[in-house]
């Protein structure tokens, strides 16, 4: 009897990444991890978002990796930072670079056809590779 090869089911992988997993990483480690995941065609959901500085670097590194043949960039959406949290004593104490809790969805631009956001909902329509 012929051996049956294990197969990978068609579909889109969604990685929900906890704040704890990201907390000890440097900015570039976070960006590298996100982009490697997204370039594999996966959707990344960060429990805690990136700092403004990290978002700026994410855009910059994404641009250097765009390739007409296989990578058109990223779609990214996140809930706004909580105004209350931003103006809180602890937030001021740790500086404006604290990301706070900011659920963030990042995916490959060519697979996310529609990404809608309002204050309470992020809706993504994702196609297979």
């Amino acid at each position: 009897m012929a051996e049956v090869e294990p197969t990978t089911p068609d579909g889109v992988e969604i990685d929900l990444i906890s704040g704890r997993r990201m907390r000890d990483k440097t900015s570039m480690e976070k960006i590298r991890m996100i982009l490697d995941d997204v370039r594999d065609g996966n959707i990344v959901i960060l429990e805690e978002g990136l700092t403004p500085d990290e978002e700026s670097k994410l855009i910059e590194v994404t641009m250097t990796e765009i390739n007409p043949d296989d990578f058109a960039g990223i779609e990214i959406e996140s809930f706004p930072r909580s105004a209350a949290k931003k103006s809180g004593f602890l937030s001021r104490l740790v500086g404006s670079d604290s990301p706070g809790t900011k659920l963030t969805v990042i995916g490959p631009a060519n697979q996310i056809h529609s990404l809608h956001k309002d204050e309470t909902l992020i809706r993504a329509l994702i196609s297979g590779r």
């Binding site: 500085d53 855009i59 641009m63 007409p68 058109a72």
Partner: protein, 214 residues
């Protein structure tokens, strides 16, 4: 204070006046999404105060693919003057798909070349924002939805760096323009309506530039 101390003070003052020469012109970056009219605005300001333009304008996205600086633009308002360097930057985005350029009658090679240059330009614009600008004019198309992630992220990045920012609601000459949408999107910042193409409301634009960046 002894003779030596006085001499030291005098030398310090002369050295300071030689090298500081008053305040250096502030570098004001013109940022925003592609096709918001950034270069049209930069050209309007540069032409009004220096007589020269900064760069070519186009309806094709990513026409500006390199940051361009116009130095020593002196804007005179109410008896005072403010000298700034205007930095016109490429439109910021998180994606560039070369096939979008094919819709503008470019052949594939030209579209691929343009998309490569566009990605380099966006990376350059982000670098300028982190390192080299002292203030920001954020330009939005009044006829487009301002509630986009790129706008939210960029305003967040600008705020985190404590840079003074003015929001310019451009293209008010269009029938679909909705200035209040932009005011509602970023209520923490002052929004100035204008049409850089038609030259509408430029007096208020220059008043605000002088007020914010002097």
């Amino acid at each position: 204070m002894g003779l030596l101390g006085s001499l030291k003070d005098s030398i310090s003052r002369v050295t300071a006046s030689l090298f500081e020469n008053g305040a250096e012109p502030k570098r004001i970056g013109i940022y925003g999404p592609p096709n918001a009219g950034k270069t049209t605005l930069a050209n309007r300001i540069a032409r009004d105060w220096t007589g020269d333009a900064i760069g070519p304008e186009s309806k094709i996205p990513h026409e500006t693919r390199r940051a361009r600086r116009k130095e020593n633009v002196e804007i005179k308002r109410n008896g005072k003057s403010v000298e700034i360097d205007i930095v016109d930057t490429p439109g910021v985005t998180t994606k560039v798909d070369y096939t979008e350029f094919l819709e503008h009658d470019l052949d594939k090679d030209e579209a691929v070349r343009r998309s490569r240059e566009a990605t380099e330009g966006v990376a350059e614009a982000m670098h300028w924002l982190r390192e080299d600008v002292d203030g920001v004019i954020y330009v939005l198309d009044s006829a487009e939805d301002p509630f986009t992630q790129v706008n939210t992220m960029l305003i967040g990045i600008i705020e985190s760096r404590d840079l003074p920012v003015l929001i310019f609601a451009n293209k008010i000459d269009l029938d679909e323009a909705q200035i209040n949408r932009i005011e509602n999107a970023f209520p923490q910042h002052e929004t100035v309506p204008l049409s850089a193409l038609e030259g509408d409301n430029m007096d208020e634009v220059y008043d605000k530039i002088a007020e914010y960046f002097a």
